[in-house]
Amino acid sequence: MIPSAAAPARAPRATGVANGFAIDARDLTRRFGSFVAVDHITFDVGTGEVFGFLGANGAGKTTAIKMLVGLLAPSEGVAHVAGFDIATQRDQIRRNIGYMSQRFSLYADLTVRENIRLYGGIYGLTPGQIVERTTTMLDTLGLSSNADDLVGKLPLGWKQKLAFSVALLHNPKIVFLDEPTSGVDPITRRQFWELIYAAAARGTTVFVTTHYMDEAEYCDRISIMVDGKIAALGTPTELKEKFGAESVDDVFVRLARGATKGEAA
């Protein structure tokens, strides 16, 4: 657990709810047969917020994020992303978001540069823009000398930072990150969160799922999913007070115990 004293520095951010919510969901539900993976969740995320979507493995986080980015259709409920309805306006949503899937999904058999060029092209950037942003990105990440290396050969931490940057390549309004720091060393994790803050400072809304409860401290607001439902929602400080816990980890443990007994906290 990283104590808050060692947390990365956070520039003060502009709270912007001027345009309404970046993401809102009402009773969003997804069933697979008789199994309810996501059970009537309701929440919203403001523009420019860093929102942490926490929960244990198998709690339904990935299913929820897949519904929000348009990979899965909801069984019930309504949600909007960047103002567009996830059930009917998927195409518009796709143009306005970035996504980093759980498996980092860059092409291992393409070079760094080739991957960037591909996604730049798909998002409609001009060749000039692609070149310019490639240079900037590689400089920021310190990967300039690796531009022509195969992504598959890069260490895990670099791959994941690269994937995050590619998700932001087209300057989307919202970026969805699904377990971006899984399996990565603490130093790289911290660098990653610096990147996230930088993006948020530019006004990008960041929606990040993770099962590392300590990362919750870095978010503006968090929600904790247990058994498909949202068991807690608020800022880390609020939740710690409410549950009388010293860390978000503790909050989660108390909630999870409730779940084991079959009750939502």
Partner: protein, 385 residues
């Protein structure tokens, strides 16, 4: 489409980066064509014959000589006993046993009819049938020869008896000429090589296309692409086009080999062949694409595609005639794009067919391709939803 160009670039980069794969795609079909083009023939060169001649007459020896003189038969052994011949056949030391009874010559002279026995090794029935027809021809010709020898005696007798014998007694009333069109030398390669080429190109292309989408699914990059504004049809086009192009290139190489190594005639219009190939490959690879949208793992894609291709291969009419198949199988063959394209290839290359002649098979291929590609796009859309 701009995005299509980016996607195609990525696909080609991925393909050509895998050196081994490229070798497989380009070299293997050509090597196999060279070998297998020479293998596919039914012509039996020389059949080994075991002679059981109980007559030992000039006439019986004449028969054996005629058979050997044709160079289609070679006597590998002889004895008065058929049992030895039988054993030889079991041990695969001979293909044919010729049995001539002891009254052979006498029967010919007296009654103009005699019997011989021909035992053929039908373990490999195709060869047996071919050998039998060779033997029948030679024996029939020998019968005519004997008749010509014997006839002068008969017509003298007939003239003597005052019967109104025809001036050309014993001459056949019907004169038969035979002509084989398009392939007077009965060259098997001309027939087989185009077909084998089609099979090789299809095998490689369809397998690769089938694994293409599933591979991204397995690796996890498919989700990433699904979240982009990329349209489904552009995505699928990018999955189809690279191997379509590669298949056409392979076909070109194969045709060059066919022309310069096998000397296959190319009577018709080559551009027509390519136009038909373009349509055919859309249909064939489209099936691979469709399979790719239905399954979850590369392994499943592999087995399903392989199953389909086996059916295409064996029921293409290349190995056994389609019209010999039971009716339900013939209907299946109608749904086999490979069958139609092989027909087209042969018609254009060997018979000089024009576009009008091949209108029907091309139409079927175009229809097939449209249906399959539509299904593939729809199925892909359904999965993402």
């Amino acid at each position: 489409m701009q995005t299509l160009r980016y996607l195609l670039r990525k696909e080609f980069l991925q393909i050509f980066r895998d050196r081994f794969m490229v070798a497989q795609l380009m070299l293997m079909p050509i090597i196999q064509l060279l070998l297998l083009g020479n293998a596919a023939t039914f012509e039996v060169k020389t059949a080994r014959m075991y002679v059981v001649d109980r007559d030992h007459s000039e006439t019986s020896r004449g028969l054996v000589d005629r058979l050997q003189a044709s160079r289609r038969f070679v006597a590998v052994g002889s004895s008065p006993s058929t049992d030895v011949g039988d054993q030889w056949m079991l041990e695969r030391k001979t293909d044919v046993i010729l049995g001539i009874p002891s009254d052979f010559e006498r029967d010919i002279v007296r009654t103009r009819t005699a019997q011989v026995q021909l035992v053929l090794n039908a373990e490999d029935g195709v060869a047996a049938g071919v050998t039998q027809s060779y033997a029948a021809q030679i024996i029939g010709a020998y019968a005519n020869e004997l008749e010509a020898e014997l006839t002068p005696m008969v017509s003298t007798a007939a003239r003597g008896s005052g019967a109104g014998a025809p001036t050309s007694a014993g001459a056949r009333p019907i004169e038969v000429r035979a002509r084989g069109w398009y392939n007077p030398d009965l060259n098997y390669r001309d027939y087989m090589v185009p077909g084998i080429l089609v099979q090789l190109v299809t095998l490689v292309g369809t397998l690769m296309t089938a694994m293409n989408i599933v591979r991204e699914k397995e690796l996890g990059t498919l989700d990433q692409l699904s979240v982009t504004p990329l349209s489904q049809s552009v995505f699928m086009a990018a999955k189809l086009i690279p191997f379509w192009i590669i298949a056409l290139v392979e076909l070109t190489l194969g045709l060059l080999v066919a022309r310069f190594v096998f000397h296959i005639p190319m009577l018709g219009s080559i551009p027509l062949v390519f136009a038909a190939a373009a349509i055919y490959l859309l249909a064939a690879l489209g099936i691979g694409l469709f399979v790719s949208t239905l399954v979850d793992t590369q392994q499943q894609a592999m087995f399903v595609t392989f199953f389909i291709i086996m059916i295409y291969l064996l029921m293409s009419g290349l190995f056994t005639p389609i019209r010999s198949m039971p009716t339900w199988a013939q209907w299946m063959a109608q749904l086999n794009p490979m069958k139609h394209f092989i027909e087209i290839m042969r018609a254009v290359l060997l018979k000089g067919a024009t576009a009008r002649d091949i209108l029907q098979p091309i139409g079927i291929l175009a229809l097939f391709g449209t249906v399959v590609l539509t299904l593939a796009v729809r199925q892909y859309g359904r999965r993402v939803g």
